[in-house]
Symmetry: C2
Subunit: 414 residues, 2 copies
Amino acid sequence: MKRTSRDIRTANRYEVLRQIIAQSPTSRQTLAAATGLSVATVATLVGELLDLRMITEVGFEDSAGGRPRGLVAVNASGGALIGVDMAETYVRVELFDLGLNVLARAVEDMRPGESRPEQAVGQVAAAVGAVVAQAGIEGARVLGVGVSVPGQVDRATGIAEYAPNWDWHDVPLLDLLAEYIAYPLHLDNPLRASAVAELWFGAARGREDAVVVNLGTGVGAGLVLGGGLYRGVSNSAGEWGHTTLVLDGRLCHCGNHGCVETYVGAPGIMLNLRELGPRSPLLHPEDQTATIDALALGVAAGDPVAVKVVRDTARYLGAGIADLVNVYNPEVVVLSSWVAKKLGAPLLDEVREAVRRHALRRPFAATEIVLSPVPTDPVCLGAATFALEGALQAVGQRSPKRTTPARSRTAPPS
Amino acid sequence: MKRTSRDIRTANRYEVLRQIIAQSPTSRQTLAAATGLSVATVATLVGELLDLRMITEVGFEDSAGGRPRGLVAVNASGGALIGVDMAETYVRVELFDLGLNVLARAVEDMRPGESRPEQAVGQVAAAVGAVVAQAGIEGARVLGVGVSVPGQVDRATGIAEYAPNWDWHDVPLLDLLAEYIAYPLHLDNPLRASAVAELWFGAARGREDAVVVNLGTGVGAGLVLGGGLYRGVSNSAGEWGHTTLVLDGRLCHCGNHGCVETYVGAPGIMLNLRELGPRSPLLHPEDQTATIDALALGVAAGDPVAVKVVRDTARYLGAGIADLVNVYNPEVVVLSSWVAKKLGAPLLDEVREAVRRHALRRPFAATEIVLSPVPTDPVCLGAATFALEGALQAVGQRSPKRTTPARSRTAPPS
Ligand SMILES: [Zn+2]
Ligand SMILES: [Zn+2]
């Protein structure tokens, strides 16, 4: 019962801005109809967003018989947001306007020997400096920076608790970043970043209960429950990649056997391929991306090995997603991240059929299964959205939750 | 974003009454401290509960230096609640006072050939009539009847959509019951009934995120998320019993293979035993209850077959519960229902160890795993709690959501 009326006000503020971003210009009356809020409540929230200069008045529309209705629209230049996707093999940084259009982008390889926290922080700081310069905006207009880092993170303290690929343990990431970056910083992981991207801009928009299945090197499920992100008691909910699909099956790096991830993460798909055709030309043993690309091309060309590998993978995935359907009874399951994007519609079709075979009939009938409609990198977009939420949460508070120390700089030391 | 300030008020009303039931007498100040609500909000809610005669003023306590504080307590005789547990093989009906103490009880066998809806409804109606007579209370004081029926149910329409054991499909159960029962009726299933029992009176009280694992003939998980029951989009969340634990494993009655239920439901445990010792004297082939009783006695006596069967079952259960820990990141996992109660502490110890082996380290460290502390039948208690929630929800509404037709009677026709 910890949810307060303050939380409700914040959630309503999110919802109204979400609607305005989705469809500008719009009137308070249209917003009220779309959100289910009263016109008076919408008017108050619109007033707050106008004060923040996140939206602007843009004229009037006629209303049948009544007086003209004022229209509002996103003030795209009212601020900028930065999203950082620190992935296993690269750092990607994007700068967005308030309409969440990408204004600038920087992508850097994260080389295997250079993943110590200080090195990664230096790379992120440089890339953040680069996108601000590239976009040609004043630093003062950056409302915040959202940072996504794989593994388990503590948002409140800004600590990356455990990132298996880099062997990071309890790295005070935001404190390190704050040495270089003078904007409010927000930490979370890719599961929740891509879930919030779907919630604001994708297939989970306007849904109460949705599951965003991330298919990349690692796999997991971002959970939208009751119209908001679900985090669990220590912010680690959604580790569906480490649920057991095959008791005593493949060994997983988490120590368990038969985890979903070992069958449907990119390395797991490579193993599915290797088991089927050890000498298949589709297999690029040291390169996940090249292998998944080859599979996608192979399926398009009707290569029987490629078709079989995608079908086998979809069978594992279908059984795992059926578990989510049975336990959560969601309105929609969204397939997101790069493997889903590359394998696309053929994978989706096979997955739907496999989920149908494994799930209970009624919850299956209540669930749509779709590919993410987000056109850009959902993790960068979601990370930027955390920064936007941070700015909206700060309304009426004296200062944002996380303030940057006075000694901060905006560029790395060299 | 559908959660309104009305929902918050209802949730707060639940929370205050829950606290008063847990500890009477108590003061508004103590309630405010326990719930995190302001004293003014608590005073308003206490006023509503006094108006409903669910609680009474019971005097004053001194407060250091200040004026004496008014004390309130549950008005146990302020109303009665009835819980109905329609299980696979029996119907159990209990009548509770407002302190949720059992005042009367009726249990009837549901014989295999007599599970047509009309027959079951006749039995329930007779048992409801019997407990009201037994308790010697005026019918007018019954605030409502909660009914739990296995399978998938539609609460809003009162329809039992699918009960596999009886082959029921879309039975309009509440309409049928309303022919005989003149009290407000509330329908749900045993997963959610036992979860709400834990939420109000058991191990989930005061928790934000909890999973109540039901171990009986069927198995499933009632989900408490954000301090309230989570239902999913079509009220079928929690079908953990039908998640895949062993791909291509045992055939389940749901059509899938390798479901958790086929390994840890009572018939699954019997199969674990049969595989280990086909001629074991512990096995009572036609009697689940007798077999589980024999296993419990065998473990207590150190019988190596019984110990091995419980360990094997705990291993399956541990892998399945680890999935819930990884996906939900709950504060507490509660083992409930009759199999958990009979196998008790030896099962719990083995399960904890097995979950530790299968779950991720951090979410495991954040989770307690306990046996249900509810001393009575949690399904009857939970069903009665749905009736109590119904009465609390109706505050300030003209009439309860479901009213009984004028033609209703309180006893079956025969
Ligand atoms: Zn794993
Ligand atoms: Zn099943």
